[in-house]
Symmetry: C2
Subunit: 374 residues, 2 copies
Amino acid sequence: MHTRVAALLGVEYPICAFSHCRDVVAAVTNAGGFGVLGAVAHSPDRLDAELGWIARETRGRPFGVDLLLPPTYVGAERGGLDADAVAALLPAEHREFVDEILRRYRIPAVPTAAPAGALNVAPKGYEPLLEVAFAHDIRLIASALGPPPPDLVTRAHERDVVVAALAGTVEHARRHAGAGVDLVVAQGGEAGGHTGEVATMVLVPEVVGAVAPVPVLAAGGIATGRQMAAALALGAEGVWCGSVWLTTEEAETPPVVKEKFLAAESTDTVRSRSLTGKPARMLRTAWTDEWDRPDRPAPLGMPLQNALVAEAQRAIIEAAERSGTRADALATYFVGQVVGALDRVRPARAVVLEMVSEFIDAVHRLDGMLEDPR
Amino acid sequence: MHTRVAALLGVEYPICAFSHCRDVVAAVTNAGGFGVLGAVAHSPDRLDAELGWIARETRGRPFGVDLLLPPTYVGAERGGLDADAVAALLPAEHREFVDEILRRYRIPAVPTAAPAGALNVAPKGYEPLLEVAFAHDIRLIASALGPPPPDLVTRAHERDVVVAALAGTVEHARRHAGAGVDLVVAQGGEAGGHTGEVATMVLVPEVVGAVAPVPVLAAGGIATGRQMAAALALGAEGVWCGSVWLTTEEAETPPVVKEKFLAAESTDTVRSRSLTGKPARMLRTAWTDEWDRPDRPAPLGMPLQNALVAEAQRAIIEAAERSGTRADALATYFVGQVVGALDRVRPARAVVLEMVSEFIDAVHRLDGMLEDPR
């Protein structure tokens, strides 16, 4: 396929796969797409090991890294918070609410080796990750929240690394373009994870117009070749997909969550602040309902909410593998509305190749609408 | 253009224009598209006059009529409510809240010839409209809410009239197909007016799969040929547009609202129950904010909310044409997220022809992505 993004990334198909799972990243890159490792919760050592593994598996084919670089978060004025400072900021009322949920759903505490820390959202958190990332032969670095800092753009360009940033509004896209990104990912509100409210169908063409000549990837609601064709018809030059990989063979999605995704309808997601403190689309479950009730405490800001609930989330997933608890009702994870279309487990490579095949069919179908049938 | 919907409706371009304005309906039909008159608030006499006018203007070219046929509404168990019964069900707290808004924004009362009545949502309300519609040479009758009643489908098919119904979820689409409709309009949550939450990008392909072989029109977020190409790539065989006509030369949109639409961004809409009692997307203004505040009464059900606010809405629009009030802050109307792309006034005919031209360009651009550039 021929688009500026395919040429820029050096891939056969401009299909970017965002995943926290190295196996998915490598499989998509090896299938002719472009794998992007979501590295926000990684330690530097683990990121180093994973990128080394991906590089060996993909033998010179291109891949990227995605970090959270939010413009606003709790503690930004101090350059970020350490784990103790985060712990000190978690209100007793919130801790008690989380404990009460676990008790009510009969979730035993998990004996954890290390307490859950803060997300790597501040420079002191993500700088070590950046150093590791730039020590590997990455082709792209992406900012999942907020425009990349100027020094990041400079360092990336010195190494011939492409800089991308996700945008949920035209205003954000303009800000990213102003910060010097090479690619804008226009992500519609139907997407999983941190997302805005403007739908892909509306957002993509307006971002394409606002940031030209910067090329645009479309995200949100894209899991098939028909949807890829729609995204490219809107003016995007590639797609950025997340949800579709969560039900692949390679994905490390917990079994209880994978089964829920395979059974879910498109109406079963909700935008909720209950996992990270910023609005993110996820499967609607008893967990999101508990946090939506007006008589319960409001979620904390980023990164406090994640610190508040990370251990509880781990306990819920572990408990769901055993009987005798109601963990199954609580278990959730980030996913987009396109979850309704995910009804079988496939290898990630098959997802890429089916998308390309369906894309070609969709283009030929459109051609047929223009031809004179006589 | 060649799709089953174009053939079924007998049009050159499968572009359906939903509008309450007869001039838009006639202009779109005369441009090779398909105009559909939204007739929910019409009296039988007025509907008769408008359909007669459209038939004369379009000289045998096809057009349609759209009604609200909600499956649930206040008073359904009694077969609907008359104006006195509706008035008796409006709580004093709600009446006082509306009056208080008008006082606070300095809106004078409008001397009205007739009090605002109930929406024609019950058989006794819409049956006279159906009789008028079937007395004219309409090509399509659409149900904007809920599946069409069996006798409506029978009567339409006896007269060779196509039956369509709007769906915001796959479940609704299946119900409509089961009721015997000839066309399903899959309307994404980004659409203006009564709408669900699943985005067009996700909803259209799942509805296409669920109701096959019934053909599908896509609605929500479609105002340009790029968006039309995206919709048809998703599997739709035509598009159903509403918002894009509101800023055309022919539209009777009040000037204050038209100006707001031309200035609005895609982030400026909200789903609100404040106009009809059912969630509908509209421009976010002081009116929707007033109804969103937690300390204010919740909107009533359909058709009570419309009866409660119809006169106030008329007073706001009239006051906005004069100085000395804050009516401008309150003025709102149904519109989709695509309002962000509406930035100039064009004839409806030009909208149709530009959509077709952009559609052709988009298809050729997709073709180019598949060609070998050597």
